[in-house]
Subunit: 204 residues, 2 copies
DNA sequence: ACCTGAACACCGTTCAAGT
DNA sequence: ACCTGAACACCGTTCAAGT
């Protein structure tokens, strides 16, 4: 005698994301998710291979949302002005992290591959910024420029979330300072190179 | 009848750090640490309040090591030349992360306060870089410049460790590019400011 | 076809009992 | 003083049994 389904994959992912955002990754247990959707833990395994797969689905969901926000930021009023686009993208990125801190951490956490979000989604989320980086730094330096700004933005935000920046001072000021200096630096023509010992490829 | 101690706090911390570096934070269980020092798990609680305290002691130990390496890098042959000092510090930071990836992740992981390394050690580890940032960017911008370079370095390294940078390209090149552009940007005089909407304090 | 209790192998942590 | 087995409250996961 078949039984009607009492929940769905979509409901499970939504419940899991709510728990993640409310109480963090350690609280995202199979038992809590099951309780949230009105079922017992073993039933979840009908819809999801294991906890890692559920975490990955939640990360995919969040990364899709971030990618869409970044696409909107790029297409907004700033479109065409690379500096303004970059400011809008950085603000969007940072706002996402502040609004969903636990989810943001999950997206960039150094977890095993099975837990990490889909690589294709990752590419999609980084594309708007790469396009802006190309407009700013030129084709030859697009990838390096994109990585520089991404590293700074992620580093800054993750230190904020981790409670770094304990030396006082004005964090907003440091954000604006870093962003403006980076924009100026990426738009600049190639600076004088480092001495031999610091060049790539020379690390024995 | 008193029993002679069969282990020590120092031995426990060392064993824990070895397990962390070999198999990552989830493998750092009380049972495994106990087995490594030849004792049963409950005995660890004579020396350590709980697992969080043990993790914190291990993080302190590693952060002390990183701080010392950064101090040596600053005092090395490059001393006096702010640009060369910064290159040496960044290389040291990155080398530490590559040599002890699991430990590096722990130092910067967004964990509850009870797990995080001592704040005083944190200050000590960031001091050499702040001094160099001051020499490069001037007193008025020392803190912001330090935060900018720290954010970039941490962001870059953590993305490397997390398996970001999946778009191909030359990661060494991106590292050298980012570092040199940052050095140029931080040393530069104040660039033209952003439009009103992007200034700090104007975010409603 | 879906859901469940029971079971298994793990955790961290406490504590009375042993030496 | 230190160490231990046993216990407790949790995990994730599997599976036979129920409907």
């Amino acid at each position: 005698v078949p039984t009607p389904a009492r929940t769905s994959l979509a409901e499970i992912v939504a419940a899991g994301r709510a728990i993640l955002e409310a109480d963090g990754l350690p609280a995202l247990t199979m038992q809590r998710v099951a309780a949230a959707v009105g079922v017992r833990a073993p039933s979840l395994y009908k819809r999801v291979r294991d906890r890692a797969a559920l975490v990955r689905l939640i990360a995919d969901d969040a990364l899709r949302e971030l990618a869409e926000a970044l696409e909107r930021a790029s297409a907004g009023g700033a479109a065409g002005d690379a500096r303004a686009e970059l400011r809008a993208q950085a603000a969007t990125f940072r706002a996402f992290a502040h609004t969903h801190p636990a989810t943001y951490r999950l997206l960039f956490a150094p977890l095993p591959e099975a837990w990490r979000p889909d690589a294709e989604l990752n590419r999609r989320a980084s594309e708007p910024l790469l396009r802006t980086a190309e407009a700013l730094a030129g084709r030859a330096h697009a990838l390096e420029a994109g990585r520089t700004i991404t590293a700074w933005a992620h580093g800054f935000v993750s230190m904020e979330l981790a409670g770094g920046f304990r030396l006082g001072g004005d964090v907003e000021r440091a954000y604006a300072f870093g962003l403006e200096r980076l924009i100026a630096a990426l738009a600049a023509p190639t600076p004088t190179g480092p001495p031999e010992g610091a060049r790539p490829g020379s690390r024995s």
